[in-house]
Subunit: 192 residues, 2 copies
């Protein structure tokens, strides 16, 4: 047989993920991925197959780590209002002021013209968030299943818009107020 891989795949995917989050798929060149991961292009191609494949793996890694952790940290076993507010506010306070970027938002926009190399992961990421929002909402005492499903999508729309406006340079304090209003009215409406 032969030797083992010399690098930690998880660490490489995390680095690649960071590059894609910050600069998008197209602007992240192989050269930048070499610098970000510490691997040479030869190793990257040998280990993953190509840029598309690296992106796909990094995207899956994003869903499994960033998205799921975010859901777990803020929503799991917490009252809906408190958890959702904390989750949305946390988007404002990301290291670098949200400048890391959301792979879901970025990819939905970047690949709107054609197919995304991680199409399934994109859909899956959206579904993860939507289900988590829905689960949080149905836990409310006065919850209605059908309405929770619709409001979960509404929160997802709001979530994506928030990330766009953060990237667009909107004022953080203003957005904080907007988050409070949005969540209050959605939950207030359910309880009404």
């Amino acid at each position: 047989m032969a030797r083992h891989l010399e690098f930690d795949e998880d660490a490489v995917l995390t680095s690649a993920m960071r590059a894609f989050r910050k600069d998008g798929y197209q602007r992240s060149s192989i050269k930048m991925l070499e610098q970000a991961t510490g691997l040479s292009s030869g190793s990257l191609y040998n280990s993953f197959g190509g840029k598309d494949a690296i992106f796909q793996r990094a995207f899956a890694h994003y869903n499994e780590t960033v998205v799921k952790r975010r859901i777990d940290t803020y929503l799991a076993g917490r009252p809906a209002k408190e958890g959702l507010t904390a989750l949305f506010v946390s988007l404002l306070d990301e290291p670098g002021g949200g400048s890391v970027g959301c792979l879901l938002t970025n990819s939905a926009v970047e690949f709107a013209g054609g197919p995304c190399p991680a199409e399934a992961d994109l859909k899956h990421g959206f579904a993860l968030l939507r289900s988590a929002f829905e689960e949080s909402l149905v836990s409310l005492p006065a919850a209605n299943a059908e309405r929770a499903a619709s409001d979960a999508l509404r929160l997802l729309v709001f979530y994506q818009g928030l990330l766009v406006m953060i990237r667009g340079g909107a004022d953080k304090a203003d957005l904080r107020k907007v988050i409070a209003h949005e969540i209050e009215t959605i939950i207030g409406d359910i309880n009404a």
Copy 2:
């Protein structure tokens, strides 16, 4: 003196705008812009200066035509609820099912890492929408100026999120329901 321009600048900007909306700045190569506009690269460079300049001009054109027309068509002299609903729903029904894309959304995301060649136009486009939303909301009988300003940003966040989710392939009927709920609660809240 010398001869005149042989093409219609407005028509060229409209074509370039369409290309940028559909494929973004980076993916719209000069070759594609040649095909879209019918001009050769020589003429494009001679007339506009370069890709950045074409983008900037196309962006300004987008604000002046698409954004302003949209505001005028749906919000001018109409009750807030009716106008805003019509405006947001119209995003779903764009030719190609919203696949043309919004230059504001796309650019905010595409240029989040660095500077946008049309930075001022990007800010201006956001401001146009935000002011229009605000104006629509302050016209409500029970309006409060401060709250209207905040709710206008909230609508802008929602607007951007909607465009992301349209590009991300969300179900149109579901989004229609979400739009109705969002506008109803914002306006209901003001009247309450």
